[in-house]
Amino acid sequence: MTLNLDHFEAALLFALLASAMLGLITKRTDRERLRYGVRCFAWFMAALFGIGWFMRILHG
């Protein structure tokens, strides 16, 4: 059994896992952890799309 993810799917999964861990270890209350995790995920996505569009514009 193998998994063949494309670039976007792999980046999405990595963002999800990293956000969960960062949210878990940084804040004090569960609510703060959830908010921080969601915010991290949103920033990951913003960077993913931002850098993606930047590279597209750069390469034409």
């Binding site: 059994m1 193998t2 063949n4 990293a18 861990m21 270890i25």
Partner: protein, 168 residues
Amino acid sequence: MQAGLGGGVRGQAEGNLKGPCVYAVKIIVMPSSSAVADSTAPTRSPLLLTGLAWLIPGSGHLLLGRRGRGAIVFATVLAAFLIGALMRGPMFHPGGNGDLLSRLIQIGGFVGDLAAGLPYFLSVWLGYAPPDSAGHAADYGSKFLVAAGLLNILGIVDAYEIATHQKD
């Protein structure tokens, strides 16, 4: 008078007694205050906890009574490792004949792989050694394996800080 008296009773008892009796009351009351101090002390050695948290991701939190957080650490590290293994990502090996930068990358990657703990040892034991093939899937897989170890390091540090009362 019993051990475990509250502050008010203790103060009243000390106020009514003089001389050697005060010391007697203090001796009787002392176990109560030391019992309170013991409840906040670490129940396990932080170093032992760190080693266990490395071997089994999330076990450090579990031993500290943070079951939910331990389960999330375990699931996160295991998911990252499984995704990497299913994408047939190759492991890093510290020995190599490349230039300095290549060797540094290999050593850093090896440390990341090793930090995953038991999943790494199990996969090596089961003979997981895919070839370093070209293509984005294997490349991402290799990075997911390292990411699993790095996420576990975050979990280990968190468990250590909880064990040493640096955070809740």
